[in-house]
């Protein structure tokens, strides 16, 4: 006379016993809880019981929906909990491991500043020594990123482009309200209150700062192949100038010369030219043809083949993208 425990039904002995006899084992029980009671007798067989039957089916449906709801939430919350624990533990371990292993690694790395580290090899030597006559750029870095390794740079501009597109997906409010933006993102209850109310100091300073900054940016862009700088830095400076102007004089004045359409056209043209020029160069290079692009006299402003126009394109892209990020963050429209 072995008295069974209270939770006999859930105990593994029960399940084993069930499994040995046929009987529904744990597997089936899990499934059965998901199956509805399909009608054993169709309503028309039992005359007059149709409504009862309907009610029964309805109840079953409700019951099942409840079961599913609980199941659903259980998986959800459990998933979340697991996520937390797993993240904490694993990532702490991973981080410590990474720091230590990297420390070990860098101990073995070549000594800092030593002229005979493996990094100093034919690659850099050729960049330095033949860069001038092969790319015509005095700024070796510019020559490298825009001529030797131009594909990286193309991808880089593409990253900027795709990021701006993604930000537009997130933040741009379309003309006809698509209901996708939830309350709180409308300009009136967003940070339009922080828009400058024609602050005289800001305006006066911006009045003479903006042109200077613009000029400097243009200089940096145009001299990218001769001096430190280039499209990216110059473009950032131009973008800063635009932001300053926007802060000083508000949206309406900025809209007079820079709208979403401006951004679209500029980026469109710049990227198309960039891709077109580069694909020409890639094509010729890849098929061993000569790209008949004159390199000009080194040091002159109109020199080093495609590097100057590419710098200009990059500058345009970067400046517009920076300003567009800013504008989208502020108002959800350019």
């Amino acid at each position: 006379m072995s008295r069974k425990a209270e939770n006999w039904d859930t105990s593994w002995q029960k399940r084993a016993a069930d499994w040995l006899r046929d009987g529904t084992d744990a597997l089936d029980r899990a499934m059965i809880s998901e199956m509805t009671e399909a009608p054993a007798v169709a309503p028309e067989d039992v005359p007059g019981a149709a409504d009862v039957f309907e009610k029964k089916v309805h109840e079953d449906q409700q019951k099942e929906k409840a079961i599913y709801q609980t199941l659903h939430e259980r998986t959800m919350t459990r998933g979340l909990h697991h996520a937390r624990v797993l993240y904490r533990v694993l990532s702490i371990l991973v981080c410590i491991g990474i720091i230590l292993s990297l420390l070990h690694a860098v101990i073995e790395m070549p000594v800092f500043g030593s002229p005979d580290s493996p990094v100093v090899n034919d690659v850099s030597r050729r960049y330095i020594e033949d860069g001038l006559k092969e790319t015509g750029a005095v700024n070796i870095v510019a020559g490298m990123i825009l001529d030797y390794r131009a594909f990286d740079t193309l991808g880089e501009s593409t990253v900027l482009f795709i990021a701006s597109c993604a930000v537009m997906i997130l933040l741009r409010r379309d003309r006809k309200r698509d209901g996708m933006m939830e309350k709180g993102s409308l300009p009136e209850d967003r940070d339009i209150i922080y828009e400058p109310h024609f602050d005289p100091i800001l305006q006066k300073s911006a009045a003479f700062l903006t042109p200077v900054i613009l000029l400097f940016g243009v200089y940096v862009v145009l001299n990218g192949h001769l001096s430190p700088g280039g499209g990216f830095s110059g473009g950032a400076i131009l973008g800063a100038a635009l932001m300053l102007f926007r802060n000083a004089y508000g949206v309406k004045n900025t809209r007079r010369f820079f709208t979403g359409r401006t951004f679209t056209t500029v980026v469109f043209l710049a990227l198309l030219f960039y891709a077109g020029a580069k694909s020409y160069v890639f094509y010729t290079g890849g098929n061993g043809l000569e790209s008949g692009i004159p390199l000009g006299t080194p040091g002159a402003i109109l020199s080093s083949g495609l590097i100057l126009p590419l710098d200009i394109c990059v500058g345009a892209i970067v400046s517009c993208t920076m300003y567009t990020f800013f504008a989208l963050f502020r108002r959800g429209e350019v």
């Binding site: 040995l20 046929d22 009987g23 529904t24 597997l27 499934m31 199956m35 399909a38």
Partner: protein
């Protein structure tokens, strides 16, 4: 020629199923539907017979990987099984024409019925282990529709249980097939096996463990312990004709797979006298005994029959694991006799449920007065299952016992027959009460309350055919014994 016949035998039922699907207006017209099914099955019987008359042939039609060819092959065993499958598939059609009236969805039922037959024939003609696995899976996936037929909660639960056990078993089989395929070029079926123990990549012990897993895996289909639990759940749920073929025929597909693995890939010599053989024998004897016990304890009629299937199919397995020609002959005989008997029993049970709606054995007092012919068929079939001469069951069990005694397997050579006897007694114990209470309900039973409700003659025809075969096959077993003896001797 033979290849063509093989392919036709396999494809005809599939084509028939397609026709059933496509031809419009069959839903209302059950007569035409079943007429078509019957014709397709009869034609397939003819084709199978022709194929059986043709000689050996093999055809590699695809290679999954270099070491995994897909091959159709016609040898004695495959021809026998093909004919057996097809005929046993044809018999219940008449029955189901009447029985399925209140079940509905006839078209779907017949489609899957035919498709399953196609898969079974392909299984019979499989020439390599991988082909066999492939058709085995197909057969599982198609036959589950027969279990799911009613789509009630229990049916779906049972169907899923069937599916999961079968696929788990098949995967265990596949696990072994990988090893066998790498060790015996592509696990092509060769009589006597093609595995030479000297040039194996793994040690014999590992190989035996793998073989154990494989055989248990395929044994799932044959309801062998420990993977038997699906059978008593799944078989009774299906409609009576479906459960008849599930129990009588499809379980034999598992037996076929085990036969192929043991005698055509590995070879009896590798297993004979090892712990593997003893384990397998233990498992099968355990199943025989346990199945009979459970059947004895169950009151639900069809479930009791399902348990008896568990025990009876393990007779066959025991005969195979004895690795002795006579025993193998006995098991092959038992395959056909058990499947005919079990078909009869299930059909009778179905007829009783169909006519009276009684599902428990304890409710069946006086049933013999209501449906005499059915119960007579039932009684004769039960006598066959118990193994009383001159029925077929006696022949097969006699051979089994002979073989067991002749196979020098230590204690099993006498333990086998003993278990056979015990379980025969148990069989009598769980089958005969139906007859006894059916005909002699006791004196305080009002005969006036009974009105005879014999089932339709179509349903009777199927049963009577089977019973006749059991009796006649038992009286004149010579041809069968000779044929199976040839197969057995070709393997050892």
């Amino acid at each position: 020629m033979t290849i063509l016949m093989m392919v036709l035998t396999i494809l005809l039922p599939a084509a028939g199923a397609l026709a059933l699907k496509l031809i419009p207006g069959l839903d209302g017209d059950r007569k035409r539907l079943y007429l078509m099914t019957g014709c397709v099955l009869l034609a397939d019987c003819v084709l199978a017979a022709i194929t059986a008359l043709c000689g050996d042939a093999e055809w590699t039609f695809l290679r999954l990987a270099d070491s995994l060819p897909l091959m159709l092959k016609s040898d004695m065993l495959s021809r026998f099984f093909c004919v057996f499958f097809t005929v046993m598939w044809t018999v219940p059609v008449l029955y189901s024409y009447r029985y399925m009236e209140h079940e509905g969805h006839d078209r779907r039922y017949n489609m899957f019925y035919l498709l399953t037959l196609a898969a079974l024939n392909a299984l019979a003609f499989s020439g390599t282990a991988v082909t066999m696995y492939l058709n085995f899976e197909m057969m599982t996936l198609l036959s589950v529709a027969l279990v799911l037929h009613e789509m009630t909660k229990d049916a779906i639960a049972a169907g899923l249980k069937y599916l999961i056990y079968s696929i788990a078993g098949a995967t265990m089989g596949l696990l072994g097939i990988f090893y066998l395929a790498t060790n015996t070029n592509g696990a092509v079926f060769v009589p006597g096996g093609s595995l030479d123990a000297s040039a194996m990549t793994v040690s014999p012990t590992v190989m035996m463990i793998i073989l154990l897993i494989t055989i248990v895996g395929f044994g799932t289909k044959a309801g062998m312990f420990p993977m038997h639990a699906w059978l008593p759940t799944a078989h009774p749920i299906a409609p009576a004709p479906a459960s008849a073929v599930l129990s009588g025929v499809i379980t034999k597909a598992g037996v076929l797979c085990i036969l192929r693995i043991i005698f055509y890939v590995v070879g009896a010599g590798f297993i004979r006298g090892t712990w593997l053989q003893q384990t397998l024998l233990t498992l099968s004897l355990l199943t025989v005994f346990m199945g009979s016990m459970m059947a004895f304890r169950t009151d639900l009629f069809k479930k009791r029959l399902a348990y008896s299937t568990v025990s009876q199919v393990s007779y066959v397995l025991m005969g195979i694991f004895m690795l002795q020609p006579t025993a193998l002959t006995g098991s092959l005989l038992h395959i056909i006799f058990h499947s005919t008997i079990k078909t009869t029993l299930f059909l009778a049970a179905g007829a009783i449920i169909h006519q009276t709606g009684k599902t428990k054995v304890s409710e069946l007092e006086g049933i013999g007065k209501q449906m005499p012919v059915t119960i007579w068929c039932f009684t004769l079939a039960s006598l066959g299952l118990i193994g009383i001469p001159p029925t077929g069951g006696f022949i097969s069990k006699w051979n089994l016992a002979q073989g067991a005694l002749a196979s020098g397997t230590g204690i099993f050579s006498w333990l086998g027959p003993v278990v056979l006897l015990i379980s025969a007694l148990l069989t009598a114990g769980y089958l005969l009460p139906v007859t006894i209470h059916g005909f002699f309900p006791g004196k305080d039973f009002d005969y006036e309350g009974l009105q005879t409700c014999e089932c339709h003659r179509f349903m009777l025809i199927s049963m009577i055919l089977c019973v006749a075969f059991v009796i006649l096959g038992g009286m004149f077993p010579g041809a069968f014994t000779a044929f199976f003896g040839r197969i057995a001797s070709s393997l050892m």
